[in-house]
């Protein structure tokens, strides 16, 4: 009933590739301190503590450890955005994985919680963070249990808390858990939620919580996978890390491929090098489209990402190429649609998600998302009119004015839309509701037209006295 190489790591497939964050998945007891210590566990922390904190920060900066949450911002640079001389500083770990298609942080938390904890400790040491909050999505019961047990073990063994390993480095790691809200994955909403409030994103600027975050203090918000990279980096060094992948996208990244492929799964791939074609058709990855069908379209980077078609299959997992091509790598989630897919209905499943998850703070998203969902739903049910399709674009324009990133923009003579694109909302939930609608309508207009009921307009004339 479960795919994957090992039952205890559902969906994960190992391959003949470097393993930076998944090397312990092979062990059934990968989540225990005993196994962690037997496999180089907490060695990275030990070596970090023997060096000045600033040197560790430089190492993370030089290795260009890219953020794995969605925006792909380098972690070392993010840490460097904190103002000098303002104390205390906090670390908030974003474990609220809920972007449609994304399934990797949960695996990392369930299968190797100590690796994440060690990553938190290294980050706290390097950046001078005095308390760490591990925010885990509320619905992930097993991940919460595994992290709680790992924290208890690590506290008892002296890896967390006062005077870690007998040094003058002290930090508490607090397990915090949410209660079901996608928008809380946005870093300022995550902080609001951690302060005990409704999880609504904060007005920007400031753009980064590094300047003003939890309790108004400098705060680093890092994704689970980003931090999980740090122990390996410290154990093996920057040269070994940057030897994997490309100069602009070093290391590996976790990618989940779901939908109409023969072998959906989670893979640790080589950053910047592995292409979408490798991933969808390669023997060590998804082994082709199901039933030998043709590929119709795929979402390259989570539900918020504009769609790609077979034309973009040869792009590698490299932000500097995927961005100009009209989409984004986002959170490492590829969703595949084969030739049998009902495109308007597929787009609706994503737009409904974002309409449902809008926090309601910005009108264009709260109203616009719902409008998109209702109109699209009407079209899918065969009750739409000609005006509905134009209206979808019009509502989308009110969320994201101007050109919207899209794979076929080049063919249409539209210049590449740089990220972040223009939007009338303070976070990306609104634009995300529009992305599937815009992609589906632009790429597969005929499928929508076929659903439209032709109606004759009745001219209404004002009644004069």
């Amino acid at each position: 009933m479960t795919g994957g190489t090992w039952k205890h790591a559902p969906g994960f497939y190992v391959g003949d590739r470097p393993q930076v964050v998944t090397s312990r998945f092979q062990y059934e007891d990968s989540y225990t301190l005993e196994r962690y210590l037997a496999t180089d566990g907490y060695k990275g922390l030990r070596s970090a503590l023997a060096r000045p904190a600033s040197e560790i920060h430089d190492e993370v900066r030089n290795a260009t450890v890219l953020g794995r949450g969605g925006a792909g911002f380098p972690a070392g640079n993010k840490w460097g955005l904190m103002p000098q001389g303002v104390w205390p500083r906090y670390l908030v770990v974003n474990g609220d994985e809920s972007e449609p298609g994304t399934y990797k942080d949960r695996l990392l938390m369930e299968c190797d919680p100590h690796q994440l904890i060690e990553g938190c400790l290294i980050a706290s040491y390097a950046a001078g963070l005095s308390q760490c909050f591990l925010y885990i999505r509320g619905e992930m019961a097993l991940a919460q249990e595994r992290i709680a047990a790992a924290l208890n073990e690590a506290y008892a063994a002296g890896y967390i808390g006062k005077n870690i390993l007998g040094s003058n480095f002290s930090v508490d790691i607090v397990l915090h858990w949410g209660a079901g809200a996608y928008v809380v994955g946005e870093e300022t909403a995550l902080i609001e939620s951690l302060e005990g409030n409704r999880g609504m994103p904060r007005l920007k600027p400031p753009y980064f919580p590094a300047a003003n975050g939890l309790y108004g203090q400098p705060t680093i918000v890092n994704n689970v996978e980003t931090l999980a990279n740090l122990p390996w980096l410290l154990n093996n060094g920057t040269a070994a890390y940057t030897a994997i992948g490309t100069a602009t996208s070093p290391g590996t990244r976790m990618v989940a491929v779901s939908g109409h492929v023969n072998r959906p799964g989670v893979f640790e791939i080589i950053n910047g090098i592995t292409t979408f074609r490798d991933l969808l058709y390669g023997d060590e990855f998804c082994q082709g489209i199901r039933n030998g069908n043709d590929l119709k379209a795929f979402v390259p980077g989570g539900g918020s990402a504009p769609w790609f078609t077979p034309d973009q299959l040869d792009l590698p997992f490299e932000a500097s190429q995927v961005g100009p091509a009209g989409s984004m790598l986002g959170s490492g989630a590829v969703m595949v649609m084969d030739s049998t897919t009902d495109i308007p209905r597929a787009a609706l499943t994503l737009t409904r998600f974002y309409a449902h998850e809008s926090c309601g703070k910005c009108t264009p998203c709260r109203e616009g998302g719902t409008w998109l969902e209702r109109i699209l739903s009407r079209v899918v049910d065969g009750k739409g009119t000609d005006a509905d399709l134009d209206q979808l674009f019009e509502v989308g324009e009110s969320i994201c004015p101007g050109a919207f990133p899209h794979a076929s923009n080049e063919k249409l003579g539209i210049a590449a839309v740089p990220f972040p694109y223009r939007m009338n909302t303070i976070c990306f939930v609104g634009p995300s509701a529009y992305a599937p609608v815009h992609s589906a309508l632009t790429l597969f207009r005929s499928e929508f037209d076929a659903r439209i009921v032709k109606r004759t307009m009745i001219k209404v004339t004002a009644v004069s006295e």
Partner: protein, 204 residues
């Protein structure tokens, strides 16, 4: 039904003590209340407000934002079926229809015997194992209508109680910071100096 029990008050104080500001404990405490009663009662929210130094309206304001909190009794087993793209592409709609027929209720409602509540939910982060569902936040992967029938039969016969606790209990392992190991939370305004280890390398 009601305010938090003595044991939960003790546990609440332990949780509150981990944060630089008490209000941060609001969501964990709401989970504790839901664990105690199966849903979050008005009395519990008033009690949490006292504990974290907020008004009951503020606590309800926070609670009502999050989908996991229920404000009236629901079934012992909450079955959440995912309907987002990856699951939808692989038969989530059919699974939902089947669940509705099998239990004789619509999505969002509870069976008359109070045993099952069905909900259509959004992405549960198990997209490669689609279609997926959760029973009281425990996963079931690649679920077919037949699997669902077996699951419902097992839940009805209470043969899965060791794996799936009643609704309200999410994680059954809790963090505990030993008093002699914890650094302790300090209000941010009381911290004025940089952490000692930043002055050079960590003194071992």
């Amino acid at each position: 039904m009601a305010r938090l029990t003595e044991e939960n008050i003790r546990h609440s104080r332990e949780i509150i003590g981990r944060y630089p500001k008490a209000r941060s404990a609001t969501i964990p405490l709401l989970h504790l209340a839901q664990e105690q009663d199966g849903y979050v009662t008005n009395e519990a929210m008033a009690h949490i407000a006292e504990l974290v130094g907020a008004s009951p309206a503020e606590v309800f304001g926070t609670a009502s934002f999050y989908e996991m909190f229920k404000f009236e009794p629901i079934g012992k087993y909450l079955i959440n079926i995912c309907g987002t793209m990856s699951c939808a592409l692989l038969g989530a709609e059919e699974l939902m229809h089947h669940a509705e027929e099998r239990l004789g209720i619509k999505m969002g409602s509870t069976t008359a015997d109070g045993k099952f509540t069905l909900e259509r939910v959004e992405c549960q982060a198990a997209c490669t194992e689609a279609p997926c569902l959760q029973v009281n936040y425990r996963y079931r992967y690649r679920v077919t209508p037949d699997h669902l029938d077996t699951l419902i039969a097992d839940l009805s016969a209470e043969t899965l109680v060791s794996e799936i606790p009643s609704h309200g209990i999410v994680a059954s392992i809790r963090q505990h910071i030993p008093a002699d190991r914890g650094v302790g939370a300090v209000a941010p305004e009381l911290v004025t100096e940089n952490p000692v280890w930043l002055d050079g390398k960590a003194a071992l």
